[in-house]
């Protein structure tokens, strides 16, 4: 367990069904790691375990050097999370949403204010600070959530299918921004997705399929002579190509 983020021997079952089977991988500090898998691969279960929304069979998980099993709250404090489903309060303004989140991390409104302004400016959202979340489009809501997830200055950022439903341009802007955060700020990003075009060649890729890790290497190495999409389809089979397990893929 050496990386900014380490998972070792993580398994999870829902009754008889095994959703995660001995999942292990390390992510180095400042690295962008894509957790790639078709729908139903176990990505959401992995996220729920990593964010402690559910607990289960013991495993070794370390977040920025903190043992997640022993001191989960310290680990959560070092982690920023963007869930697949929006978690904004639509009746509150962008600024109020961020202030509320900061308070849940124990940051007072006075201390949070400059952080919120800086975070929103960085994502070109400053002029929307006092708009209600309901008035924002999908892309701006996502940006607000990313800005929010970084307010407490986490060392690791987890995003679960954060670009679902967004147009290509917005998706590119968001992934580019996150890559910049890795390069410039040393943030470690775990990005769950089923879309190979969101992954850069230098990114680490962990391919998850039916709860198991099929590959853990750089996108360049996994793609080999071809492209990542072809390699991913070859590994996960026709199931991923047709999206037959639980909806559209790729």
């Amino acid at each position: 367990m050496t990386g900014a983020f380490s998972v070792n021997g993580l398994s999870h079952s829902y009754g008889e069904r095994r959703a995660l089977d001995n999942v292990s991988f390390d992510v180095a500090p400042g690295k962008f790691c894509a957790l790639l898998g078709p729908n139903g691969a176990g990505k959401s279960t992995l996220f729920s375990r990593l964010t402690r929304l559910i607990t289960g069979e013991p495993a070794q998980i370390s977040i920025a050097g903190v043992d997640f099993e022993k001191t989960p709250r310290q680990a959560l404090a070092r982690m920023g999370i963007v869930f697949q489903q929006s978690t904004l309060d639509l009746d509150l303004t962008v600024f109020q949403n961020l202030t509320y989140f900061a308070a849940l991390h124990g940051i007072s409104a006075r201390d949070a204010r400059p952080r919120i302004i800086a975070a929103l400016e960085r994502l070109d959202m400053a002029e929307r600070a006092h708009e209600k979340a309901r008035a924002l489009n999908g892309g701006h809501r996502r940006r607000t959530e990313i800005a929010r997830a970084l307010l407490h200055r986490p060392q690791v950022l987890l995003l679960d299918e954060a670009t679902v439903g967004l147009d290509t341009a917005t998706r590119e802007q968001i992934t580019a921004h996150l890559h910049r955060l890795c390069d410039e700020d040393g943030l470690t990003v775990l990005w769950a997705t089923h879309l190979t075009d969101e992954i850069a060649l230098d990114d680490q890729v962990v391919i998850l399929h039916r709860g198991k890790v099929l590959a853990d290497a750089s996108a360049r190495d996994i793609a080999g002579a071809g492209d990542l999409r072809t390699a991913f389809l070859a590994m996960t089979g026709a199931e991923a190509a047709t999206g037959s397990s639980a909806g559209g893929v790729l």
Partner: protein, 263 residues
Amino acid sequence: MNPYLTAMQAIIWREGLRFVHQRERFVAALVRPLVWLVVFAAGFRAALGLSITPPYQTYISYEIYIIPGLCGMVILFNGMQSSLSLVYDREMGSMRLLLTSPLPRWWLLISKLLGSSAISLVQVYVFLALAAAFGVTMPPMGYVAVFPALMLVGLMLGSLGLFLSSLIRQLENFAGVMNFVIFPMFFLSSALYPLWKMAESSQVLFEICSYNPFTQAVELIRFALYGEFNAIAFGWVVLATLVFVVLAAWGYDPSRGIKQNSN
């Protein structure tokens, strides 16, 4: 400020804002007991004879009798309303934000409880003011003495709502809560009729009513409105609050999971 207090303040503030945004909820919360007070009580006054029972020193009108029960009703509905909003939060995903905070989950749940109790208090005092405007008044000191009783009852019914929200998996199931929790709790209590009246018709129902925590909550409020302390009711309400808080903490334990899907 202490991080715990910062979070608590924010959770209470958000509950308050949510309440302010839902004006219909406030109106409904006031209209409901007022309909009972003005319409129902008028019809029942003739049918129900009330004897002098503590804390009353003299014959009282039926309107006076049902005021504590209607205060309880306001709090009961508010507790269930906040339970409904928690189920909604969970379905919409915003509950995850709360549950992934690094602060202890029990602290966050207690903050949530305090927020919903504070809203109950505001509603009850507005209702008492409206009742006074209709000529149904309590002893002046009673309005002050009842404050801690209302707060405690708010915590009891809020924690019951919290526990129920952890059990209800889907919003649609909330109708069941109305049928199986709110109505039995309210009608099998001393809110609308004194328990000795119930004993006259059925001893079994009387026993059930006596053990109903809502009866004890109503009695605690009733005595407090006359500046008296009902120790038995207080003990029952404290006990029920503790049981519901423990159950709610169990309900929100991460090992039970709060996910909606198993992907």
